[in-house]
């Protein structure tokens, strides 16, 4: 595989053809924030937090590093006034849904985001798709999927499938940046199949892993 040399944050980085800028950066120890990205999953390009500035053949553009392929002689900047502003506003938009998500709180600190800047949204799902994609690509069960479009887009557990698959798995719960996946599953179970979840006989399996629960704390109301 041919070697490609590019510059990231004034550092010369050697990558191989077929790599994305994100992979090349990670390999070189350079951090780019991500949210919807997961090494076991196909790159999604949905959260846009990994956007970077790329200068190539005299043109400057803003691209998502999780998808953008490395190319010879490109100059990448993972921080700049514009890149930072993009990340700040994106975090503010997401915090309108989930102001207490630890990942978002950390990003807000880094980029100076104001959790109260935008109008509060009812759902604390940020539609990053990690649960849906994990269930589809890794577990191949499709117990949870996307429904609807635009701002109404949500994730939804399919009761017919979730009843038999989810309790013994629960792997998407830990992936969820806001704990919505876990809440959505539990709510679905309570409404659609209370007391009817299927699980392998307790003796035959390893103890149920305690799902990580994020405490719900009252959010100070500011106008």
């Amino acid at each position: 595989m041919s070697e490609i040399v590019l510059t990231i944050d004034d550092q010369e980085v050697k990558a191989t053809a077929g790599m994305t800028v994100l992979q090349a950066a990670q390999q070189a120890g350079i951090t780019i924030p991500t949210l919807c990205h997961h090494e076991k999953l196909e790159a999604f390009g949905g959260c846009r937090l990994c956007m970077v500035e790329v200068e190539s053949r005299g043109w400057t553009s803003y691209v998502v590093s999780c998808l953008y392929p490395v190319a010879k002689d490109i100059v990448v900047r993972t921080r700049s006034e514009k890149v930072d502003k993009i990340r700040k506003v994106l975090v503010e938009e997401l915090m309108a849904h989930a102001p207490d998500s630890p990942e978002l709180v950390k990003l807000a600190e880094e980029y100076g985001a104001d959790r109260n800047r935008f109008e509060r949204e009812a759902s604390f799902c940020i539609v990053c798709g990690l649960c849906v994609r994990y269930c589809n690509e890794v577990k191949q069960k499709n117990a949870v999927g996307f429904i609807d479009n635009g701002p109404l887009r949500e994730i939804r557990f399919i009761p017919e499938v979730a009843a038999r698959e989810c309790w013994d798995c629960q792997e998407c719960f830990a992936l969820c940046p806001t704990s919505y996946a876990q809440a959505a599953y539990l709510l679905t179970e309570a409404l659609a199949f209370p007391g009817q979840r299927k699980t392998a006989a307790p003796a035959a399996k390893t103890p149920a892993r305690a799902a990580r629960v994020i405490p719900i704390m009252p959010v100070p109301v500011t106008t």
């Binding site: 390009g45 937090l49 993009i86 506003v89 938009e93 935008f118 109008e119 479009n149 635009g150 701002p151």
Partner: protein, 554 residues
């Protein structure tokens, strides 16, 4: 009808068709365009058929596609003479038939100038038509879209013959490049370049696509073109496929127009029957087939990569453009997508040459453009003018100015992803780059007039509302950014503007524009950009009204 095996067969057929037609015979063309159809032009056509039927074969009645003067429909054109009758009702039919038989005109149904009362009988006298250059749409009144012979009679498929028999694919490509045909769907990207990229892609299987989705609000000219003359678009597609090296084509259009579906299906079937689609077209050795696909009711599926996902049977989520669809499109094969109007331009470029084409239009925008004229305009309809035409001509000479005696406040182009410019820019020429610079990119060509009573904040709110419903929801800046912009705009229109709202809007416009995955999100803030550029005081007023009301400023 036996399959045409060679170009000579086609020309022989054309001669036969023309010989069988008498140019002196009266023909009554009844428009079945979307608006006329909505005003029951079908009843008018039926009445004509019934009346004319009583006279044997004296008068031909021809249902056609859109003539263009939608405002004054149902439209009827009588040839010879191109006599235009407007707002025709079934009860007018016997009178028209009688007058036509005697070579006379029904005075009360012809065009009358609303100010002077002056009459105009023939098409070239009617102001609406007079100022146009109807290279693409001019044939509509002459063609019954259900009859391929009508298209052959006006010279149809001569370009295909020339391309297949006298030119190599490279020569065809070259001609289109020289003509500087730019995409008519909104991108304005040089079609020849796109064709070349697709042609040069290493894969052997290639596709060509007609984007007939036309989701842009207030744009209806693509549907007029495709419903009225599907063969012209198909001919352009086959020629393009030949130049690119594609073996299969897709026509992608809307599911909600039965007449459009009927006409396109018929066109594809007849083209196949005549041997213009299929194997070894006209003995050239070139194989090409074409499939029809429908959208399922969402605007974003008009975006080219989303459209391709839709053809594959996947949800129409756009792909980031680092992978150009000309290289990897439908099922990862090189796919060349162009708009209906772009394809429709191809045949004339081949028959009349790139040099002729470049003699029309402005320096960087060549040829004519189909424009859907609507909004608070007197004469709404589908018009065609050379690029470079001043907007004033479109608005006043053709459009007849603003309805109800009001004054013009703004002109809007490009639907929900375009922009509004104030009335004092009325002398700007119709031009891809010029209009972009002014902040109102032509887009697909939907031109809306807004009168003095238009609330520009409400317009922006309305456009944002439309877009949020059409967003696919995959990426944060579009899904969340547009939602927040909509919240703010709604509050502004309801008198709940807060200090900081305009700054928030500006940040949202900037980030949504920079970070969105596809053109829908990227251009969603463009109407707002134009609003801030030209109409900011109206927005500021919404803030100061509230702030002055005394609630705590934050």
């Amino acid at each position: 009808m036996p399959r045409l095996q060679t170009a000579a067969d086609l020309e022989k057929l054309r001669t036969e068709i023309l010989a069988a037609r008498d140019p002196a015979k009266s023909c009554i063309a009844v428009c079945a365009g979307a608006a006329c159809d909505g005003m029951d032009s079908a009843a008018v056509a039926a009445a004509f058929v019934a009346e004319a039927g009583k006279l044997g074969d004296k008068i031909e009645v021809r249902p056609t596609g859109c003539h263009g003067y939608c405002e004054k429909g149902p439209n009827v054109v009588v040839t010879p003479g191109d006599i235009c009758y407007f707002e025709v009702q079934p009860t007018d039919v016997p009178e028209i038939i009688a007058a036509t038989l005697q070579g006379e005109v029904v005075e009360r149904l012809v065009y009358k100038d609303p100010n002077t009362g002056a009459k105009a009988v023939h098409m070239h006298e009617v102001p609406f038509y007079k100022h146009q250059m109807r290279l693409l749409i001019g044939d509509n009144p002459k063609i019954d879209p259900m009859r391929i012979d009508d298209y052959l009679a006006v010279g149809g498929y001569a370009a295909l013959v020339k391309a297949l028999t006298e030119m190599t694919p490279e020569q065809v490509l070259d001609e289109v490049k020289k003509a500087n045909l730019r995409g008519r769907g909104g991108g304005g990207f040089p079609a020849g370049s796109k064709w070349e990229t697709t042609r040069n892609a290493p894969e052997k299987t290639k596709y060509v696509i007609v984007n007939g989705h036309e989701g842009e609000s207030a744009a209806f000219m693509d549907r007029a073109m495709l419903t009225g003359n599907p063969h012209k678009v198909l001919e352009g597609l086959i020629i393009g496929a030949y130049a690119i090296g594609a073996q299969k084509g897709f026509m992608y259009t809307r599911h909600d127009m039965p007449l459009l579906e009927k006409h396109v299906r018929q066109a594809l079937a007849q083209a196949k029957e005549y041997g213009l689609l299929g194997k070894n077209i006209l003995g050239s050795g070139f194989d090409f087939e074409c499939e029809l696909h429908f959208d399922v009711g969402i605007f974003v599926s008009g975006e080219s990569s989303a459209l391709m996902r839709s053809i594959e049977g996947n949800p129409p989520e756009p792909r980031p453009k680092y992978i150009r669809t000309s290289v990897s499109g439908i099922w990862d094969k090189p796919s060349n997508l162009n708009n209906v109007e772009t394809w429709a331009n191809v045949p004339q470029i081949i028959t009349r040459g790139a040099e002729w084409f470049t003699s029309i239009g402005s320096e960087k925008s060549k040829g004519t453009k189909l424009i859907s004229l609507s909004g608070n305009v007197v004469n709404s309809g589908v018009v065609e003018v050379p690029m470079g035409t001043p907007l004033r001509t479109l608005v006043f000479d053709i459009g007849g100015g603003v309805r109800d005696g009001k004054t013009l406040k703004a002109i809007h182009f490009g639907g929900a992803m375009g922009g509004s410019i104030p009335a004092d820019l009325i002398d700007a020429p119709l031009d891809f780059d010029g209009m972009s610079k002014l902040g109102a990119p032509i887009g697909a060509g939907g031109l809306l007039l807004m009168d003095e009573d238009t609330d520009m904040v409400e317009v922006a709110r309305y456009l944002m509302d439309f877009l949020t419903q059409e967003s696919c929801g995959k990426c944060v800046p579009c899904r969340e950014g547009m939602q927040q912009m909509l919240h703010i705009l709604t509050r502004l229109t309801e008198g709940e503007g807060k200090a900081g709202d305009l700054e928030r809007l500006e940040d949202l416009v900037e980030v949504t524009g920079a970070a969105s995955l596809c053109a829908l999100g990227k251009t969603s803030g463009d109407p707002l950009k134009s609003m801030f550029r030209y109409f900011k005081p109206e927005y500021e007023a919404r803030i100061s009204d509230q702030a002055a009301g005394g609630s705590a400023a934050k």
